[in-house]
């Protein structure tokens, strides 16, 4: 009797979470039941054309999964890199006078690091498309 009282007042025992488990079971069960009932009882007309992949109504040609040349990824990532570099110039241009010589030196350092990178990818031949 004492144990039972303890069970009721002490919310941290594992047993007191059984209602939550039941609730979760009912929630999952309801979804599974309604989905399967509508699937089984709902009207459908299965034909080869209906089951085909939907590509905006256009006839399917080939597969989307084929190897793509690494050149595309290289150019894309380099573009993003230098594009972001240019984005940094906008706030700098707005604060050009306020930042003074100190800011100018910081931006110069930033740009020169990028320039080194640019020279590196150029020398490595990442920008040559036909090779």
């Amino acid at each position: 009797m004492l144990d039972l009282l303890n069970l009721r007042t002490n919310m941290s025992t594992p047993e007191s979470y059984i209602p939550i488990l039941l609730q979760m079971g009912v929630a999952v069960g309801f979804v599974a039941l309604t989905l399967s009932i509508s699937h089984l009882l709902g009207p459908n007309r299965k034909t080869a054309r209906k089951e085909d992949n939907f590509e905006c109504g256009i006839e399917i040609k080939g597969d989307a999964r084929f190897p793509v040349s690494v050149k595309y990824f290289l150019s894309a990532i380099l573009f993003v890199l230098f594009d972001v570099e240019v984005i940094f110039f906008y706030p700098y241009a707005v604060n050009f006078k306020a930042m003074g010589w100190e800011g100018f030196m910081a931006v110069l350092a930033f740009v020169s690091i990028f320039l080194m990178g640019f020279l590196y990818v150029w020398k490595r031949g990442a920008l040559e498309w036909e090779k």
């Binding site: 009207p43 459908n44 007309r45 034909t47 080869a48 054309r49 209906k50 939907f54 905006c56 109504g57």
Partner: protein
Amino acid sequence: MVKIGEAPEGIEGQGFFATSLDKAIGLARANSLWPLPFATSCCGIEFMATMGANYDLARFGSERLAFTPRQTDLLMVMGTIAKKMGPVLKQVYDQMAEPKWVLSVGACACSGGIFDTYSVLQGIDRIIPVDVYVPGCPPRPEQIIEGLMKIQELAKNESLRRRNSDEYKKMLESYNIETAE
């Protein structure tokens, strides 16, 4: 209180309401038509107004547009359908979920309209069965809404057996639409 749908005829008593399954399902279908807007020209612009706040198609339970045929049961064809677009339209219709309805909006979709030329399909009913035609060039949103309400009427009163009947299958076959695998 907002009235969402009219209750069908049935036997009413204290704490219960009984009606036929056809009517209950018809009520549900009619008030939850999910359109697939197949908008190819100016009727599509009118449709945009229809979906906007002034006309608000969502009042009819049709705010959930989808550009995939898998989740839609109302194909709204709005605009000129060129002959090259015909097979695309037919594929979209074929891949839609059952039961499905087709609303043909505007003179072009209904009959080719002013485009009486070699390149334009003279009415979409040459390739797919159409349930309701909305005339006009382009029709005003009110007309499109009336067309939708007519579709709702059809959905509400349709027998659950209709799409399994031989008559219906013959009609589909006359459009070269497969009825079974």
